[in-house]
């Protein structure tokens, strides 16, 4: 095993341009065995681009990569993988129509003679998934899995290979806290085994916990690199964003005690996902939805919006029953919905940025033909308002960095000028600076009399923003917490069904 000061993988003066625009400038990076190296930076700073170069998915415009001191020129990810350099993508790289097991072994199937050794693969696959403590069925098609399960499959895919360098690009963006713990335990084991780990995340708390060394990028340039010891979250945030971030969560807007109910759901039942859930939303209120992934929050909200079939339930808007059969009906009721799955359901990846932005409310840009100027104008406003960073002339949404995609999606949802905003995991893959902006944005909305439903798996987000928090567990809305009750401990108790109404009764029924 190599010594501590002998880097396993090192990059020297890596530059990369997309067309005339350079996104990486002379980046140096060393990965040492048994060390977790964190890579930080704002959205669009160039993190994903850098790691894609390291693992052979992209080639650098100039610069060198050395493995064990030997120069390497990867022409494809396969070659890098053969060297033990494995990457977990930010943008999930799974074949959707294949099963979890098939994906995990894709390209290096186990065989007995000429035939696939399905049993052995299932065995290994179960082991890997068990190590990750997930309940994913190896035979389930990836298409049918939730995003967090897909992420777990991606991780399983990586760890079943012979890794020497493991690169993780925002692995926890879609994971639950429990899954994050499992992942950290795994990272610890790998570190013990002498694997060099490069870890990208926008969650500074995580960085603080696991990183041995950090490197910060800003606008494609290396800002700082050094041991983690002695650095604080705040200092890192300042390095990344280039300014001080205070009061992460703004003061909650005051909620009039007589604020009328703008939206009410009664006895919603979604077969297989939600049992008899009811809740209300008042004007100017932020209603949080907590619970572990798979608790049925998405199912409940999407059934309410007419995106999924429901077997029972009633929706009232301003006290009037409304029939929302299609998302269009919801849009007419000025309800906006931000999906949690930005690539699968949010953005048309091979379409331009402007068409993506205006797709939800295209009507507003037509008179009667689509008015490109108005579209352009809206786009510029969106860039301003949501701080979308365009360092290259991205033609399609796929070319945006992950965080900027998320911002574009948020901008798209807001084009309908909604009264009720339902945001599902809004800060997924978003950097601290922008997160801060989004939180303030939520506050502005409520100030302006809009109401917000916030589905989030980030406890601090729920606690920091919500006036009330509805908690779900296994399809049952176990309780709605208010005021003092809104704290981590309490939410956890409701989310796991220990506290709260009728979990057991309903489950038995």
């Amino acid at each position: 095993m190599s010594t501590q000061d002998q880097p396993l993988l090192s990059a020297r003066r890596i530059c990369r341009s997309f067309g005339p625009n350079q996104v990486l400038f002379d980046i140096d990076l060393d990965l040492v065995p048994g060390e977790v190296h964190a890579l930080l930076g704002e959205n669009g700073a160039g993190k994903s681009t850098l790691v894609k170069i390291l693992s052979g998915y992209l080639s650098a415009t100039s610069g060198d990569i050395h493995l064990d001191g030997e120069a390497r020129h990867y022409r494809g990810s396969g070659e890098a993988e053969a060297d033990g350099v494995v990457m977990i993508h930010q943008e999930l790289a799974l074949a959707e129509q294949l099963s979890a097991e098939e994906n995990i072994f894709l390209g290096r199937e186990l065989r007995r003679g000429l035939f696939l050794d399905r049993k052995a693969m299932r065995e290994r696959c179960r082991e890997a998934l068990a190590e990750l403590e997930t309940r994913v069925d190896p035979r389930a098609r990836v298409k049918d899995l939730s995003t967090s399960d897909q992420q777990m499959v991606e991780i399983a895919k990586a760890i079943t290979r012979d890794v020497r360098v493991l690169i993780m690009d925002e692995p926890t963006a879609t994971l639950t806290e429990h899954e994050v713990e499992v992942l950290f335990a795994l990272i610890a084991r790998l570190r013990e085994r002498g694997v060099a780990i490069l870890y990208i995340s926008h969650k500074l708390r995580e960085i603080e916990r696991i990183a041995d060394r950090v490197t910060v990028l800003r606008d494609g340039r290396l800002i700082d690199s050094g041991p983690m010891a002695g650095r604080s979250k705040e200092a890192l945030a300042r390095l990344m964003v280039g300014r001080e971030i205070t009061d992460m969560y703004p003061e909650r807007s005051a909620l009039a005690s007589d604020a009328e109910v703008v939206l009410e759901a009664r006895n919603m039942v979604v077969p297989g996902a939600v049992k008899q859930a009811s809740f209300t939303l008042r004007r100017g209120e932020v209603l949080g939805f907590g619970g572990v992934v798979g608790a049925g929050r998405t199912a409940l909200i999407e059934a309410l919006l007419g995106l999924r079939p429901r077997s029972a339930g009633e929706v009232l808007r301003n006290g009037q029953p409304v029939a929302l059969r299609h998302l269009r009906d919801a849009v007419r009721q000025r309800i906006a919905y931000l999906t949690e799955d930005r690539k699968g359901k949010g953005l048309v990846l091979n379409m331009g940025l402007r068409p993506n932005l205006t797709l939800l409310n295209l009507r507003a840009y037509c008179r009667p033909l689509i008015d490109r100027r108005r579209e352009e104008q809206a786009f510029h406003e969106a860039i301003e308002r949501f701080d979308i960073r365009l360092r290259t002339e991205a033609r399609t949404a796929a070319e945006l960095s992950g965080g900027n995609q998320q911002k574009l999606l948020l901008a798209k949802v807001m084009t309908i000028d909604p009264e009720i905003v339902i945001i599902n995991e809004p800060t997924r893959g978003i950097d601290v600076g922008t997160k801060h902006q989004i939180y303030h944005f939520v506050r502005e909305l409520t100030e302006a009399g809009c109401s917000v439903i916030l589905i989030s798996s980030e406890m601090s987000e729920l606690i920091g923003l919500s006036h009330r928090v509805a908690v779900m567990c296994a399809g049952v809305l176990t309780g709605v917490l208010e005021g003092e009750q809104i704290n981590e401990h309490e939410i956890m108790q409701y989310a796991s069904g220990i506290k709260g109404v009728g979990v057991d009764e309903q489950r038995r029924a």
Partner: protein
């Protein structure tokens, strides 16, 4: 130092290649035309050019409809037999209207109206069965293809339906006439192309087609009535088929089971040659127009020479299509390695 092969031209590419993507089909068309001239100078004759363009109008108009269907991720194999069926019904109708209204404009207008209506309905059926029945477009339109084809054979009693001679004389100019020197079918083709272009690139409907073809789920989450839009593409296709039929009928004044055989394949080929993606999500009307003209031109060029054994027409045709598309795609690729 600069050992790693880069992709650094990609933005330059994005613009240059965009141009080439737009102009690629035209370049291929020019190459083909050059070939035509070399083979026989008569190719450039005004008559020949006008004949060729007029001919390409049928497939062209149908292919413009198909561009929408394919862009939205669908497929319509029934267009050829739908055309035959519409032509058949139109002829029967006009023949019987002659008794009431005489061989006048009324008869023809009613016939045209019926044709459009029929096209709309046929498209509606294709669309509804595909979307509501959740059956693959391939199967549905393969089914309706057989249905329409056999219905027209049935209507014609296995033979040919012929338009009343009186009506034919009045209706004739719709194919053979010209306005400001341009044959009417060509004008209609141009008009349909322009409308199609605007519809696809400058309206909500067109934008929705792109979105649905790219990712149906995203379209649904963007509050788009996916099924409705998809059905509308089939209806548009139906109307295009009806329009093509309306200018087809006055040409020979007849319809039979043999009318429009393999038009579906030609229409789809025109669409794909033009650069529309068969799996959906990307469509180009002008490409389709060029594709349709190119296909007709190949046939025309082959008729202008006897250098090749007749039996080998298909071989030459096949090779030209592949080479033309290769050249065209290559011109994109050169700038984008």
């Amino acid at each position: 130092m600069n050992s790693v092969v880069p992709n650094n031209k990609s933005v330059a590419r994005s613009q240059a290649s965009f141009d080439l993507k737009t102009w690629g089909p035209f370049i291929a068309l020019m190459a083909l035309a050059l070939l035509g001239v070399l083979i026989n100078p008569a190719f450039l004759g005004l008559d020949n050019l006008s004949n060729m363009l007029t001919r390409s109008a049928f497939i062209g108009i149908i292919a413009i409809g198909a561009t929408f269907v394919i862009t939205a991720g669908g497929l319509d194999l029934s267009v050829g037999s739908m055309a035959a069926f519409i032509a058949g019904v139109m002829i029967i109708l006009m023949n019987s209207l002659v008794e009431q209204f005489g061989p006048g404009l009324t008869t023809i207008l009613l016939g045209i109206g019926a044709s459009l209506l029929l096209g709309l309905c046929a498209g509606f059926i294709n669309g509804m069965v595909t979307t509501k029945g959740k059956i693959e477009a391939f199967i549905v339109t393969l089914g309706t293809m057989g249905i329409y084809r056999s219905l027209v054979t049935y209507l014609a009693d296995g033979g040919t339906l012929s338009l009343d001679w009186g009506v034919r004389d009045i209706y004739r100019p719709v194919y053979y006439g010209s306005l400001v020197g341009i044959p009417i079918p060509v004008l209609v083709f141009l008009l349909v192309a322009v409308v199609g272009y605007i519809l696809l690139n400058h309206t909500r409907f067109g934008r929705y087609c792109f979105a649905i073809g790219s990712n149906e789920k995203v379209a649904e989450y963007s509050a788009i009535h996916v099924d409705r839009i998809k059905t509308m593409t089939y209806m548009l296709q139906g109307v295009c088929v009806a329009l093509a039929t309306i200018i087809y009928v006055p040409r020979l004044g007849s319809a039979s089971g043999a009318t429009g055989v393999l038009w579906e394949l030609e229409a789809i080929a025109a669409v794909i040659i033009g650069g529309t993606v068969l799996k959906g999500g990307h469509g180009r009307i002008w490409g389709t127009v060029v594709g349709a003209i190119m296909l007709t031109m190949i046939g025309n060029i082959l008729n202008l020479t006897d250098a090749i054994s007749n039996y080998l027409n298909g071989t030459v045709q096949g090779i030209i299509i592949i080479v033309a598309v290769y050249l065209q795609r290559a011109s994109w690729r050169k700038s984008a390695p």
